[in-house]
Amino acid sequence: MNGASLRACVLAAADALEASRDELCRLDAVAGDGDHGVTMALAARAVRQKLEESPGASGADLLALVALGVGSVGGAIGPLYATALLRAATALRGLGTSEGDPTVGEIRACAEAGAAAITGLGHARPGDKTIVDAVAPAVQALADAEATGAGVPEALEAAIAAARAGAESTTGMIATLGRASRLGERGRGSADPGAASFVVALEAAVRTYLGPVGAEPAGA
């Protein structure tokens, strides 16, 4: 994977999260404490600052910086992202492919490590109405793409679609973990904010990586 490109992807995700602030707060206000958009906007700021402080960082080092940035906002979401990104960075480091473009299998491996960190730390399972409901399908889509020999753009597009479908499916769920978990039936009818913000970040990052639709990957 190309470092400059990863940086651009991260910054695009940060921009997209900031642009979604109001919508994410709205979702969190339904059943939570209404701050998720602010928290992700603060995360975007913190990440941008970390990247500015280390203009040369790339690859796994850059991912680790992003982890620190997101982690610095605390809350429920901070440590989940931080641990996931640190594990993904470790996986990336293990692959030793930071110079070239990653394969679908490499992307899948990193994503899997990150997803495992989230469930390992937060103990949420699919159906609990959390970020896991968007993350798990995305990882599964990458695995499916890998199995069918799809190319990177196709695999990433499938991951976005799966994450989005997963986030949308949370609308019908009842939360059982976190702040929203005492709402019961009343929380149904609105998507989980953490799942929604994951889709926002993923889509912005992937779109930047792939470049204008139909073009070659940005980092190629």
């Binding site: 709205r26 206000a29 928290t39 702040r179």
Partner: protein
Amino acid sequence: MATSGQAGGRYKKLINDPFAVVDEALEGFASAHADLVRLAAPRVVVRRTPAPDKVGFVVGGGSGHEPAFAGYVGLGMADAAACGNVFASPPPDVVLEAIRAASSGRGVVTGYGNYAGDVLNFSLAVELAAAEGIEVREIRVSDDVASAPRNEAEKRRGIAGDIIVFKCVGAAAERGDPLDEVERIARKANAATRSMGVALSACEVPGSGRLTFELPADEIEIGMGVHGEPGIRRGPLEPADEVARALVQTIVADIEGGVAGRPIALLVNGLGATAYLDQYIVYRAARRLLEAAGATVARSYVGEFITSLEMSGASVTVTVLDEELTALLDAPARTPRMVVW
């Protein structure tokens, strides 16, 4: 339908940059109370004069609940507070910094409300501290009877009961109790404490551009938490006596053996915008009900102990007392927002 909120469904605030509220307020706080506390790191408030040889006590949680948590740093209560963003747990490195500052070699107890974010961040910090050789015990305050049934009491969130627990733990640590003892007190105080609240209107997280929830003009939310997490039911705005009855009945029903013939501490907490007049009217009603149930109200606390920004509402907390807890509540404390003398 009219929605709650100061104006146009929103609140007017005396702030500058909505993303800088926590750091600006902490700068003000630390300079206003410089005789008692100082900022050891950007979000870490510690005693001006550290206690040299005792079990350390670290409290913390999201901001927006002032005077919790930094307001309780000082003699007889906490050694350090880790402060997060508004309604967001502080991250592990901030908690770790607070633990380090509170550690004088005899171990540290951390006390915080039982919320997913706080559990995640504090647990990570405790692991990091252990790696540095600091033994840390965690006490997750879980007094809110509205947040989970009694058979899942460990899932309950922490609200105004924090203050009762923190006071007892702080006093135990201050008098030199060893780590095991302080942890025992913490668990005992938490087990003896139950709360339930009601919200009349929402608040607004700075920068969110919206209220944390919408409540019709003539409704209240019974059992709501200190972040605007939904409660157990919505109902019409009733007289204070009826609201107090709903809270006290649920609390008393949750206390094994009831309150008859037992001394209790009664705490009424204002969420932010509720007038003292109203708080004392709720206190009066709660006290009458508890006395009618046979309890002896031995200690009373009325005021804003843990708020939700400018939310309107109040909670009632009952702690079943014994001599040990009573003595700890009465022990001297000198902190920016709680002075017992």
